[in-house]
């Protein structure tokens, strides 16, 4: 079976942060409920988060890492007694792209998620039962506003950087749109300024596959167990969009699981087996309602048409935008749309389309080139022009 976390340079273990623990922060206590963009109010809200490295005295070295659709607060290191490193462990750690010997890195699970932050599967204190569909609809802005409460709690006035890929990248852009004065630099990776009709269409198929499973029970399945069929098919669709034609050819080609056709509807091809395995595994670790809520939040996302930087405002946030050549889920032209929005406003920015055959998954796999770009970009942001070296004249 293929291990997705495997990276090109196997430096994981010798440079890992080591054992980390998830922490929890609760806000919007009774009487001070948080008002969602939809207008609905809810409280209290808990965010699960982890931190790596040390916050410096003037609190100027904090980086907020933002996870993608099914990610969580566990971005780096390992949890006690477990082997799996965090989802961006190859990028966060001592000497890595986000160098924890210099920077203080924070990662929190989004509101609406199911990995320790308050979401549809959390217990409603009023009823003692999970919120299910009583949970307010969320937007990417809600995710960001909730994170802002956490950043306030940590006493950080201005983040050195916000960084993330995919939906994490949308949160990066939303941070700049909502709190430009609190972000020194932004690294949106493999993401978009708005969700396109094709992307909404994929998410709608994902949602329909969950909601058409009778086990979904209009969202009230918590006593009975997850809508496994629907959720696993939803995830299978996702995995197709995360890979590329070429990476699927390289991984599976037309190889058969057994030597001959079954002439039945078993998984004959390796690619079928892979998708089934991925789908079945996902059901064990992710709440179906959270998947519905978060995909909807992504579809609502739209910072095009001048909404990224409010009119008449100048921002001094620096940008590093990265896309991947074979990523057809968030193709490069969407990153270039971000670039165009920044050019119109004279924002200091770098854009690079990295060569990769891994499709959208590339942001988890293409470590070396991302590391070079991110490391130096952060160095410049943190230190200004103290780049050493004699480059002439």
């Amino acid at each position: 079976m293929i291990i997705m976390k495997k990276t090109k340079n196997e430096k994981i273990n010798n440079e890992s942060i080591g054992v980390v623990e998830t922490q929890y922060y609760t806000f919007a206590e009774p009487g001070r409920e948080y008002k969602f963009e939809s207008g609905d109010k809810l409280g209290p809200i808990t965010l699960a988060y982890e931190t790596y490295g040390k916050l410096n005295k003037d609190k100027s070295n904090a980086i907020l890492a933002l996870h993608a659709l099914s990610g969580d607060a566990h971005a780096a290191g390992i949890h006690r007694g477990q082997d799996d490193p965090g989802w961006w462990d190859n990028m966060i750690g001592p000497g890595k792209a986000f160098d924890t010997s210099r920077y203080f890195v924070i990662c929190s699970n989004v509101v609406g998620g199911c990995k320790g932050s308050t979401g549809p599967s959390s217990l409603n204190p009023a009823t003692g039962k999970p919120y299910a569909l009583d949970f307010p609809f969320i937007t990417v802005a809600d995710m960001v506003h909730a994170q802002r409460h956490l950043i306030d709690f940590l006493g950080i006035d201005k983040l050195l950087c916000v960084a993330g890929a995919s939906v994490g990248g949308m949160q990066v852009l939303q941070w700049v749109a909502s709190y430009p004065e609190r972000v020194r630099s932004a690294i949106p990776i493999a993401t978009a300024l708005k969700h396109s009709p094709q992307q909404i269409a994929f998410n709608e198929v994902v949602r329909q596959s969950i909601m058409s499973d009778p086990a979904w029970r209009e969202g009230n399945y918590y006593e009975y167990g997850q809508p496994e069929k629907g959720l696993s098919v939803a995830r299978m669709i996702g995995h197709i969009t995360f890979m590329s034609d070429q990476s699927m050819e390289e991984k599976f080609s037309r190889r058969l699981k057994n030597d001959k056709f079954s002439f039945g509807f078993d998984a004959d091809f390796e690619v079928e087996g892979y998708l089934r395995y991925r789908g079945a595994n996902f059901v064990k670790r992710f709440d179906a309602n959270s998947y519905l809520y978060i995909t909807k939040a992504i579809d609502y996302f739209d910072l095009s048409g001048g909404k990224l930087i409010s009119h008449g405002k100048n921002i001094d946030t620096r940008f590093l935008i990265i896309s991947f050549k074979s990523d057809w889920l968030y193709p490069s032209h969407q990153s270039q749309e971000i670039v165009r929005a920044l050019k119109r406003r004279h924002v200091d920015a770098t854009y690079c389309e990295l060569t990769s055959s891994y499709g959208h998954d590339a942001f988890l796999i293409e470590v070396d080139e991302q590391t070079t770009l991110i490391k130096h970009f952060l160095d410049k942001t943190f230190n200004g022009y103290l780049v050493t070296g004699n480059y002439g004249i």
Partner: protein, 203 residues
């Protein structure tokens, strides 16, 4: 790199640009020109470059670069976004030269253009006596392997500026090691012009 081996064209452009200027370098390569300007003159620099390896080198130097080709890269910039737009040794690689020059004049107050002179004496001699496509210090490529798509002389470019109503503010003619003052269209290997819009052309 030793300072005395730095290309003469870079030294001339370096001396033209004032401190704190806003500068866009089209085809900035590894930032060999922008980096010293940022370091010594604190310019606000933006590069445009297609090659990903070159972009990585720029980022290592702390420079900001967009990966794009020159022709697509200019449209979004508002008028007068930069004090200088540099088009050094990249104009001859551009197909729509006229459009690109007009766009650079729109987004930049001044445009610095540097290009190899096709009418340089060595080119003429190669063509005339050997009957071969010229290969010189500034035009080093074989005919089938050249990134250049436009071949022009200093006289061609001056005529172009007259026809397009573009004002030439400064002209520098470069020989192999030093500046050329006599018969530039014959003796200069490279030329650097500083251009602006004519006043009546300003929109």
């Amino acid at each position: 790199m030793e300072s005395n081996s730095i290309n003469l064209d870079h030294r001339i452009i370096y001396s033209i640009i004032e401190p704190d200027a806003r500068v866009l370098d089209l085809g900035c390569g590894e930032g060999e020109l922008l980096y010293p300007l940022v370091r010594d003159k604190r310019i606000r620099a933006q590069g445009i470059e297609l090659n990903d390896k070159a972009i990585q080198e720029c980022v290592k130097k702390g420079l900001s670069v967009f990966q794009d080709d020159i022709e697509n890269s200019l449209r979004e910039y508002p008028d007068n976004s930069f004090d200088y737009v540099i088009l050094n040794q990249s104009m001859q690689e551009v197909k729509k030269v006229d459009c690109v020059i007009q766009e650079t004049l729109r987004i930049g107050n001044k445009v610095i253009v540097g290009f190899p002179n096709f009418a340089y004496i060595k080119s003429r001699l190669m063509l005339f006596f050997k009957g071969k496509s010229p290969i010189t210090g500034s035009l080093p490529y074989l005919w089938f392997d050249t990134p250049n798509v436009r071949f022009l002389s200093i006289t061609d470019f001056k005529n172009f500026c007259v026809e397009k109503n573009i004002r030439i503010v400064e002209a520098h003619y470069l020989g192999e090691k030093e500046l050329v003052h006599l018969w530039p269209n014959l003796l200069a290997m490279n030329a650097i012009f500083v251009l602006t819009k004519r006043k009546n052309q300003a929109t």
